[in-house]
């Protein structure tokens, strides 16, 4: 039976290190491929890479021939660097997560009409799994999509919608919010398309009238803000996260703050 106290009480958030099985051991596992045949020289090169990554006590778990002229490594080591966790400030979507019933009730009470939300994959993007998960009735992981809400008029425009058309439709339909989903990121097409939309939106004077939300597996809140959007949501976002944000933002723009103090709830 161990009689000493656990080292966990010695955790110093100012000097955070990775954890293998002992506090501050700094254990890291990395894997990578070198475009050379497996050999003692290749192994040594891998170790040198690990050293350059700031690891010591390096153990090469395996060196495998992944193809002619390619070797694959799994390496364990201990990283010497630390991170000051206590000093970290991250841009997060600031809104309290609410459940669907609550959100419906708030819209009914405080707004009195359905909020119109348009959703689409824009540009060449045809990967609608994400926007479907947020908008379609079925939703995602038991959290129902915006179509299921009584007080959202949610319209999923699907794939490959051009920015121009999206904005024109939003004006015609008096949309309150636009959700843009971007999946393909090669050559940073997602960034260019998102920036283009917001440039047009600004030219059309829509930035104050409409809430602009971006989403996608490689989308983050900071990236969305950089592109001119109001919020960004990434992997693991549930429909109610987006719904909560839209409602709070809609009311905030009209000077109405909801009673309970919003606590920061970051999108995963």
């Amino acid at each position: 039976m161990s009689s000493g106290k656990s080292r966990m009480s010695e955790l110093d958030l100012g000097k955070l290190k990775p954890y293998g099985d002992i506090l501050n051991d700094g254990t890291i596992q990395v894997s990578f491929t070198l475009p050379v045949e497996p050999s003692p020289e290749a192994r040594e090169a891998a170790i040198q890479f690990a050293e350059k990554m700031g690891l010591d006590q390096i153990k090469v778990a395996t060196m495998e021939k992944a193809a002619q002229g390619f070797s694959f490594f799994v390496i364990y080591g201990n990283i010497k660097a630390t991170v000051d966790f206590a000093a970290i400030k991250v841009l997060k979507v600031e809104s309290r997560k609410r459940a669907r019933d609550e959100i419906d009730a708030i819209i009914k009470e405080k707004i009195g009409r359905k909020l119109i939300v348009l959703g689409a994959c824009t540009g060449y993007d045809a990967h609608t799994v994400g926007i479907d998960a947020i908008m379609n009735m079925k939703g995602f992981a038991g959290d129902y999509g915006l179509e299921r809400y009584q007080w959202f008029d949610a319209r999923n425009l699907g794939a490959q919608v051009l920015n121009d058309e999206l904005l024109k439709l939003a004006v015609r339909e008096n949309a309150d919010a636009i959700l843009v989903s971007k999946v393909v990121t090669q050559h940073n097409i997602h960034v260019r398309d998102l920036q283009d939309l917001m440039k047009r939106a600004e030219q059309m004077g829509l930035k104050e009238k409409i809430i602009f939300v971006a989403g996608g597996p490689r989308v983050t809140h900071p990236l969305a803000l950089e592109c001119g959007f109001d919020a960004g949501f990434g992997v693991g976002t549930k429909p109610s996260d987006v719904a909560s944000y839209i409602v709070e933002e809609f009311l905030k723009r009209r000077g109405i703050l909801l009673e309970d103090k919003p606590t920061t709830g970051g999108a995963a």
């Binding site: 992944a66 799994v129 479907d132 490959q160 097409i189 992997v235």
Partner: protein
């Protein structure tokens, strides 16, 4: 092989329904042609060059057909005018192709030759085109024999390992493809650039940039096939090459695939309609002609039923997949394809946390095997529930491989641990192949050594899905395919018969329509 206790009288009824569903569609197909069919015809006759327009290559076939379409002169097809011009100017097909594409000869102004002369010459050209395709097929088959190819449509030798490359640069793809072959892959697919299916032309030449994939071009096919021929000889094992027909250029991709000796082509009767919003008639007419070419070249098609389960729930919608497979089978048979060329597709996409999920997946995979015993069925891996935890993802792929080898799948599209992250790195693919080889070898004979519990969970689930499929096909037959699709028969998607892209490329055949390829292929 362990078999389920399926009611084959119901299976037979499903096939009859599929035939009845297809019949009115075949009538519609026979009354039309499309710009893509006419372009594919020109390509098979040798018109495969490109002209420069706005600083970019534009296929000669497109330039020619576009001109005739604008003048509304496609009702008889391209051949009456093309062949008349050949006879008048004494040019071969390639030269005329260039002259016409560059506007020096205007096919819209050509005087038509007498019908008998046209028919004879057109037929002669089509027979030559057909014979060339046969020679390409034979070259391919010779190489397969040379490398002692063991591919068996029924999957008796264990699943074929199929992986994907997609760097955007065909030359980088060649490196990845060779590496994958060396690691043990049997078939390579080059994913196309995103949205290529919506281009109404086939890009020209070798390409080094693409979005989320590499453009499918004739030159890219040639480059990759040449590399894989070399690798096949080196490894003593034939490596297959796959590309994708779907989209507005289905017949052309089929033609180019046949010309460049591809082995597998993704080709689905309904995918373009449902997932790319391509016009229903355009897709159905194009798929027929494309499959005539494919049948002649004895290329194996892969159908896209995996896609249904990325929008519809996989636990609840197995019947959509099976109904679609029966329909794809029927359209393929109507295009003179044989069962051993039909790589009907399905996927393991159920929620991994569903109780007894592996029993349900086994039921679906085994029933596909039992219902299509002579078809090289293609099993596709989890994608929808994949996430950034690559270790868990790798396990999901292992279980998928286990179900595949247990149920005797013919083609196994290997899962990637990094599916949710990026197009596969060389190491991701290597890891995936190692996974498959481990499980395919270790459980190689499991399928023949067990029997399924009569009336157990697996048997029961298969029977349930078969019943639902039968009801689904009855519904589709009573409404007709177009109406059924409009009313969301597949993948929760609704499409209207006159909606979608490419509708303007559908042309009603007029009296005098000439295209002997329909007879000679």
């Amino acid at each position: 092989m362990a078999h389920l206790n399926l009611d084959f009288s119901k299976v037979k009824r499903c096939r009859i329904l599929a035939e009845e569903i297809a019949t009115p569609v075949e009538e519609m197909i026979g009354a039309h042609t499309t710009v893509a069919i006419e372009r594919a015809t020109l390509r098979m006759l040798g018109v495969n060059g490109a002209v420069i327009r706005n600083g970019q290559y534009f296929p000669e076939a497109n330039a020619i057909i576009e001109d005739l379409a604008k003048a509304k002169l496609l009702g008889q097809g391209v051949l009456p005018r093309f062949v008349s011009a050949m006879l008048e100017h004494g040019l071969d097909t390639r030269t005329l192709g260039t002259e016409a594409a560059e506007g020096r000869i205007k096919l819209s102004e050509v005087k038509l030759r007498p019908a008998a002369e046209l028919q004879a010459k057109a037929r002669e050209l089509c027979v030559q085109a057909r014979d060339h395709l046969v020679r390409q097929r034979e070259y391919r088959d010779t190489l397969r024999r040379e490398t002692k190819d063991t591919f068996d449509p029924q999957g008796k030798g264990g699943p074929l390992l199929y992986v994907i490359v997609a760097t955007g640069n065909i030359y980088d793809d060649v490196v990845q493809a060779r590496a994958a072959a060396q690691a043990g892959a049997d078939a390579i697919a080059v994913i196309r650039s995103t949205a290529q299916s919506l281009l109404d032309y086939v890009p020209h030449g070798a390409t080094t940039e693409g979005f989320g994939g590499t453009y499918a071009t004739q030159e890219n096919f040639r480059i990759m096939r040449e590399a894989l021929d070399d690798e096949s000889r080196k490894l003593g094992r034939y490596i297959r090459l796959t590309n994708y027909c779907s989209g507005l250029c289905m017949p052309e991709i089929a033609a180019l695939g046949a010309l460049e000796r591809l082995d597998f082509l993704l080709n689905d009767a309904m995918y373009g309609i449902l997932f790319r919003d391509i016009n229903m008639k355009r897709t159905l007419i194009d798929q027929h002609f494309s499959r005539r070419i494919i049948a002649l070249s004895r290329i194996v098609i892969h159908t896209g039923e995996d896609n249904y389960l990325t929008t519809a729930d996989a636990v609840e919608n197995g019947h959509q997949v099976l109904a679609s497979q029966f329909i794809n089978e029927r359209f393929a048979l109507n295009a003179r394809m044989t069962q051993d060329l039909m790589g009907l597709g399905h996927a393991q996409e159920m929620d991994p946390e569903h109780p007894n999920v592996f029993l349900l997946e086994i039921a679906r995979a085994q029933m596909t095997r039992d219902i299509f015993p002579d078809s090289p069925i293609k099993f596709m891996p989890p994608t929808r529930h994949k996430c950034g935890d690559i270790f868990y993802s790798h396990l999901m792929d292992a279980m998928f491989n286990f179900v595949g080898v247990l149920t005797g799948q013919t083609i196994q599209l290997l899962g990637m641990a990094t599916e949710a992250m990026h197009t596969p790195l060389l190491q991701d693919r290597w890891m995936s192949i190692k996974n498959a080889k481990y499980i395919f070898n270790g459980a190689r004979s499991l399928g023949v050594d067990i029997t399924y519990n009569r009336g157990g969970i697996i048997d029961h689930w298969a029977a349930k899905v078969l019943d639902e499929t039968l009801a689904h096909l009855e519904m589709i037959r009573s409404k007709g395919l177009p109406k059924a699709i409009e009313e969301k028969a597949f993948a929760e998607v609704s499409r209207k018969e006159t909606g979608g892209k490419g509708h303007d490329g559908v042309v009603l055949r007029e009296a005098g329509y000439l295209n002997p390829l329909f007879e000679v292929l």
